[in-house]
């Protein structure tokens, strides 16, 4: 016998939440920001700017996040067709996020809560690359520094001052405030008459920024006249992020592991089909000592389905001696 059936109790499924840095640099804070002239001058550049951790021409360059701009009434980018005003890439972006987040085509984004709410027509959106945020963003780790000239603002989410998560549609949402590590600098971290600085949507890897609130703090404002060159407003917030030079974010994912306990009894697996275990082609065991006291060295565990197909394999880091006086228990962890 060379195959042994596994029992139900030999399997344990475990799920573990793992947090890690989001960026390709494996550092918590992204400090350098680069764009690609090929991307920004292409068709996609009409809608968004891709931001890399190093020069886009380098082999190790990977998209970290995309910056886009949405406007409800079509201002801030070029008309698709001059004879049809209001339809621009900015309108498409606004409608896209409204459908995805608010799940209601008649709604508008509202920043802030209580008595300090604000409903503007536009937003900047930072869409984190899926490979960076893995499953979801980790609330409380978002710290973004924006600089315009001598004006600086530090933004974070308000997860530390929120006991119960709130939802927009089916999306978990936190307000973006002035502060750090999930806590406000002052009472609320909001801006007078402009609500919060935006919305932090961890489950879809999206950060919406409120242009009016940011303008009050660091005096940058999107150009919202009609038929503005595409990419103009994305560049405004990109320049502030680049000048700030500090974007901290962690990713969170649940790793589901299947533990398989491989048990061999003292009487099992004590002989080998290894060609060096026998002498010649007749199958005689190489050493006389092995006839009554066989020894084998386990190096590999193969896991099979009912059709005897090898579906997973595990290697030990060193050979494990097995004989009639030893039993072994090997724990194999398969991650999905």
């Amino acid at each position: 016998m060379s195959f042994k059936r596994l029992d139900a109790e030999d399997f344990v499924v475990s799920a573990t939440s793992v947090q890690s840095t989001a960026w390709s640099t494996n550092e918590p804070i992204l400090t350098t920001f680069q764009t690609s002239s090929v991307q920004t001058s292409g068709t996609s550049g009409n809608y968004y700017i891709s931001v890399y951790q190093v020069a886009a021409t380098l082999d190790e360059a990977e998209v970290q996040f995309d910056i886009t701009y949405g406007n409800k009434i079509g201002s801030g980018s070029e008309f698709f067709d001059p004879s049809i005003p209001r339809l621009t890439p900015a309108t498409s972006i606004y409608g896209q996020y409204r459908t995805m987040v608010l799940e209601d085509e008649n709604s508008s984004f509202i920043y802030g809560d209580g008595t300090n709410t604000f409903t503007p027509n536009d937003f900047y959106a930072l869409s984190i690359d899926r490979a960076r945020y893995k499953e979801k963003l980790f609330p409380g780790t978002f710290n973004l520094k924006l600089i315009n000239g001598s004006n600086t603002i530090h933004l974070t989410d308000n997860s530390n001052s929120t006991n119960i998560a709130t939802f927009l549609g089916s999306n978990r949402v936190y307000q973006i405030i002035s502060g750090s590590n999930g806590s406000p600098y002052d009472t609320t971290g909001y801006v007078a008459n402009s609500g919060s600085y935006g919305l932090f949507l961890p489950d879809i890897g999206t950060i919406l920024l409120n242009p009016a609130a940011i303008n009050q703090s660091i005096e940058i404002t999107p150009t919202v006249t009609s038929n503005v060159a595409n990419g103009t407003n994305q560049s405004i917030i990109y320049d502030a992020i680049k000048s700030g030079g500090s974007f901290q974010l962690n990713a969170q994912e649940t790793i589901t592991s299947d533990f398989v306990f491989v048990r061999s009894r003292n009487s099992e697996f004590n002989y080998s089909s290894n060609p060096s275990y026998i002498s010649g082609s007749t199958g005689e065991i190489i050493f006389p000592q092995f006839i009554n006291n066989p020894q084998t060295y386990v190096t590999t565990v193969g896991m099979y389905n009912d059709a005897n197909e090898l579906v997973a394999v595990a290697k030990l880091s060193r050979p494990l001696l097995k004989d009639f006086t030893k039993e072994s228990l090997i724990r194999v962890k398969l991650d999905f």
């Binding site: 596994l6 004590n270 065991i285 006839i291 066989p294 896991m303 090898l310 050979p319 194999v332 398969l334």
Partner: protein, 222 residues
Amino acid sequence: MGYLNNQVVTVDAILTKKGRELLAQNDGSFRITQFALADDEIDYTLYNPVNPSGSAFYGQAIDNMPLLEAFPDENQIMKYQLTTLPRGTAVLPVLNLGLSAVTLKQGASLAITPQTLNYLGNATAFETSGYNCIIADVRTMAEFNGTGIQTTAAQTQNSTSTTTLGTNVSSTVIGSQINLRATTVNTLFGTNTQLQTTLTVIGLDSGARITIPVTITQGTTL
């Protein structure tokens, strides 16, 4: 492919190419139900039963050797399975296919009936559970199936044995007799006159294994 750090005992587990394929199929075929152990990489001639330092040192050359990481190709790993036999066994099971290599012309057929020598006190035996037969490149075959074993697994394997998925071209069947028929497709040869692959047969009860080369020659005559 690198060495595993053997300062501590760890287990490095991966899905094989076949495992990933079955997982992607999402039809329940990726379900681990059994295991086997193997001693790939071990050279027992390094075992020294006359070591002057004593029996604790007989396996000195093997005990602490570093091992390579797992290979995802299921044809390159689990080559030498460990087996359970009665204590006192002096000769180990060996497979006999009746031939040391297979050469077929296009469209020609061959039936192989593996036998196990030295198994459970018998000079020659057919294993009750049958034989696992793996062809490394099933595109070389118009027909590849096993007969004589009536389990659901064996019948399922036969029904899809010549179906390939992308570049994953190895195929496994179970039977007490293995039937091969060489491909008739000329385009597989390109500018060559032969196709080469391997056939690996594993006794499901004994764990004994043998691999032989398979050659398909172009044309209808050798």
